[in-house]
Every structure is written in C-alpha cells, then in structure tokens.
Symmetry: C2
Subunit: 129 residues, 2 copies
C-alpha cells in the first residue's frame, strides 16, 4: 500500500510547474499502477493549448472553475466542481482557467513517467523507457 | 471527448450504493480509457472490509475524513483532504468513515465494468466480458 500526503509532494520533484499549470504527481509509472494520478492546479485566467497525442487523460474538477474548448468540434464546455472530461480520442483542446483557480484530479494512460515536458503541440512525448 | 457532470450521474445506473458507500462511475470500461474513474462517498462512521483481489485502485480524498487500516501490516493511516492511497498489492484493508462524509476520487485498473458487486471478501470479481 502506498499512502501519500499532497503536503509531502509540494516542493519536491513530484511537483512540476509550467506557464499556467502546476501538477503534483501522486502516482507515476514507476509506482506500477498502470496509470498515473495527478493533482493539477490551473490558475484563474490561464490558457493552455494541449494535445496529448500519446496519452488518454481523464480530468475531474473538485474546486474552482474554467472551461475546455474541443478543437475538433469548436465546442466549449464549462468546468466546475463535479465536472469530468475525458480525452478518449487524444483530443486537441484549449484549457482555460476561470475566475478561481481550478483544482483538477487527473489520471493518465499510459502512466506519465515524470520526465515529460510539453512539446510545441502541448503533447507529452511517449515514454521510451 | 467525453464530458460528464456528476449531477447527471446521481440517480442513474452509474450511481451504485451499498452499505457504507455510494459510488458514481464517471468512466467505466466501456468508455475505453483503460481505467475506470469514480467518485465515492463514504459516510461518517461507516466501516468497509475490502479486498480488491483483481484490481489495483488509487483513491484520493478531496473532502471529509476517515482512515484506512492495512491488514497486512496492522497499520492505520489517517485520510483527509490531500491524502492518497494506492492499493498496489491488492491490499486487504478496512476503510473507515470519520467524523465527516469522505469524498474520494478513485481510479481502477483494470477498469470496472459497472456490473460488479462486492463478494464476501469485499472484492470485485474479475471482468469476464
């Protein structure tokens, strides 16, 4: 059994930041669960162009608000506490922070290793390990 | 892209209840993500004896409190907002509600189909579909 407190992750190598996002990796590939599991904070007003070409991702909002624009359809969905979105087609999207920081709980398949950076398309590169 | 609001799941077949738990399945096997993704509410004072023999599960608490007893070690871990536990060894455990209902975000591998019930050991049977 693995037990982790987010307080012990903040400020370590399991907390990764970029422009408009902070991600705390509660579970990575090396934890052997077959998925990774993250808490991600999107500050109010942020805008992220993302395209996880090599990963499926589910995201569940438990606080704050924002929106997601599906670039395949042009549709924008509001995000708030209780809304989940799943990128089941490696969907290209724009994630926007709202009026309050969003707290998102995320699961990735295949699991993120922790070494990824976003490429120019907003993708994480596939794991070559 | 799949977008679901928990309000649209409550009261449907995607909301499953048993003694001491209510689970809302945001993503099931049929959603094709390779994991399932649930919100589970454990009422204050509940006690659940669980043993997911056929599934790995990660659980992240985002509200309320309780505890988990690891039956392999006898150790009890407190659960509160910001604590995650992962049953990476199909760990037998007792999950106890605390003084406030716990709101847990859960991911299962392999994904739950939605047809499972807990057997006498607190396991979900493996999917035979």
């Amino acid at each position: 059994m693995i037990v982790r407190d987010i307080k012990d992750i903040i400020g370590t190598e399991r907390e990764v930041e970029g422009p408009g996002w902070t991600s705390r990796r509660m579970l990575l590939k090396k934890d052997g669960m077959g998925f990774s599991f993250h808490e991600t904070i999107i500050p109010a007003g942020a805008e992220l162009h993302l395209w996880y070409k090599y990963h499926l991702e589910a995201v569940y909002c438990v606080a704050g608000n924002g929106s997601i624009e599906d670039l395949a359809t042009g549709e924008t969905h509001q995000i708030y506490d209780g809304v989940m979105y799943a990128l089941n087609n490696n969907d290209r999207h724009i994630l926007r922070g709202g009026t309050e920081d969003m707290r998102l709980i995320c699961s990735f398949n295949p699991p993120v290793t922790g070494r990824e950076v976003h490429d120019k398309d907003g993708a994480y590169l596939p794991d070559d390990s």
